[in-house]
């Protein structure tokens, strides 16, 4: 099989794995205010953990580039949120404010997998022997990202099926970006720290602006503190071990 096809297939598998993140919600039937707050806290911790790894990954490629990218990511979400109407907006089965937040969440996570796709391609470009290992690692890392998306979309009224679909959708840029990045490593490598920083900034801002306040709304502070800390740690640990 040509290397390009391998990279594309690898990327597709990792994208599909993201949908698996919706599975835990099959077991959570009632969406009480407490469950909603806890879901937001889980999503917040997972996303903060993912952005920590993105920054750690980006820094060796360029400190300033990563930090500038991060602040651009914050600005991007700020502007997007300003432009999106919070009334009259429809996103899937969602309407109004819930639709705005769910849509933002998908935009942020999609931007994130753009950057990750480039990272995958550049990593593959370094040598093919690790290809299978990298694919498995990324597929597994994508599951908690799908969990984060579902944990943020479910409380806002999205069904499990559509949360799973949007999770997969948000990961599609991974294969799409991995291929050109793999083919043109030299062109993509300089952009990588900006992209990684951008994704980290966008995700962090999303956590501070939307997920944390919604978590505090119906859970006590120690509950939020513990859930966010533990999901953060789990995310960092899973990304390090793989």
């Amino acid at each position: 099989m040509p290397a390009v096809v391998v990279v594309l297939l690898a990327g597709l598998i990792t994208a599909l794995a993201t949908g698996l993140g919706a599975i835990p919600f099959l077991f959570v039937r009632t969406l009480s205010p407490k469950v909603i707050a806890f879901s937001n806290a889980i999503a917040a911790g997972l996303m903060l953990g993912a952005s920590f790894t993105l920054v750690v990954e980006g820094m060796p490629f360029g400190t300033w580039q990563t930090i500038i990218g991060a602040n651009l990511g914050v600005a991007f979400i700020l502007v997007t949120q300003f432009l999106l109407p919070d009334e009259g907006l429809e996103f899937g089965e969602l309407k109004g404010g819930g639709a705005q937040k769910a849509l933002l969440m998908v935009i942020v996570m999609t931007a994130h997998s753009f950057a990750e796709g480039v990272a995958v391609g550049v990593a593959f470009g370094g040598g093919e022997s690790l290809a299978v290992l990298i694919t498995i690692a990324i597929a597994i890392q994508n599951i908690p990202e799908g969990l984060a998306i579902t944990a943020a979309m479910r409380p806002r009224g999205a069904s499990i099926a559509s949360s799973a679909w949007w999770s997969v959708f948000s990961s599609l840029p991974q294969p799409l970006m991995a291929v050109p990045a793999f083919l043109f490593v030299d062109t993509f490598a300089p952009v990588l720290p900006y992209g990684l920083g951008f994704a980290a900034g966008a995700m962090t801002y999303m956590v501070f602006r939307e997920l944390l306040p919604d978590a505090y709304a119906d859970a006590t502070r120690p509950e939020v503190g513990l859930i966010v800390s533990l999901s953060f740690t789990a995310m960092v640990a899973s990304q390090l071990l793989l």
Binding site: L78, P222, L230, F232
Partner: protein
């Protein structure tokens, strides 16, 4: 071993600036909602500092860095439970009505001790990281000092005494920082780095963020915190490399 006098001095300076917190309280007669900005700024700076500490710890030993951070979270969680002030917002009068002064002081002593470990751990990696930690925490202490002073003045304390007691509770930075810098060897370093990152992360989530959201809304706080975070990470990269 880092210069222990420098460690003690920077920890003391970070604690001493807490007396400044009483000034806005005297001027406005309450914990001004403007403190929300200071809280969010401190939260962002401490998160950035926590990122740096965590990354250094994990680089030395992934297991130590991660397990240490779980210990740090547990320590602050337990100290909040121990003082029965787990869900108390120091800057909210109705929350404070039921809290006694010894409870508040105990909670703050444990809080500042955990932060002191971060200063000591910073010095163990690089003196410049230690100074960065002390500076970050000093800024945070001004906001923290304002909340404590306001709570004490509310109970009839003289502002001068209130300011001194708030700085006094922060002085727990000093023994914690010096002990960390003096006694922790290479094997323990990833653990204390993880510990301080985990402890600060939990403190930010339980104390700083909810307070600042309540004082200043969501958007401004989110921008301040994320920008401050990136400033510390950048500063660390420039100063320490």
């Amino acid at each position: 071993m880092p210069d222990l006098w420098l460690v003690a001095l920077s920890a003391a300076a970070a604690a001493a600036v807490a007396v400044l917190g009483v000034i806005p309280v005297i001027l406005s007669g309450e914990v001004s909602p403007r403190l929300g900005w200071a809280n969010a700024l401190a939260a962002g700076l401490m998160l950035g500092a926590g990122y740096v500490l965590r990354q250094q710890g994990i680089a030395l030993s992934p297991v130590g860095g991660i397990a240490g951070s779980v210990v740090g979270v547990t320590f602050v969680f337990a100290s909040h439970r121990f003082t029965n002030l787990a869900d108390v917002d120091l800057s909210r009068p109705e929350d404070l009505a039921s809290a006694t002064v010894p409870q508040i002081v105990t909670r703050e002593l444990l809080h500042s001790a955990a932060e002191g470990v971060a200063i000591g751990a910073g010095f163990l990696v690089d003196p410049r990281l230690g100074l960065l930690m002390a500076g970050t925490l000093g800024l945070h202490n001004v906001a923290e000092g304002a909340a404590i002073s306001a709570a004490l003045i509310e109970r009839g304390w003289h502002p001068t005494k209130a300011a001194l007691l708030s700085a006094g509770t922060m002085a727990a930075h000093i023994p914690a920082a010096v002990a960390t810098a003096a006694w922790i060897g290479a094997g323990g370093l990833p653990w204390v780095l993880g510990f301080s990152a985990g402890a600060m992360f939990y403190l930010i989530l339980v104390e700083l963020m909810p307070e600042s959201y309540r004082q200043r809304g969501h958007t401004g706080i989110a921008i301040t915190a994320s920008a401050a975070m990136s400033v510390v990470v950048l500063l660390h990269a420039i100063l320490v490399g």
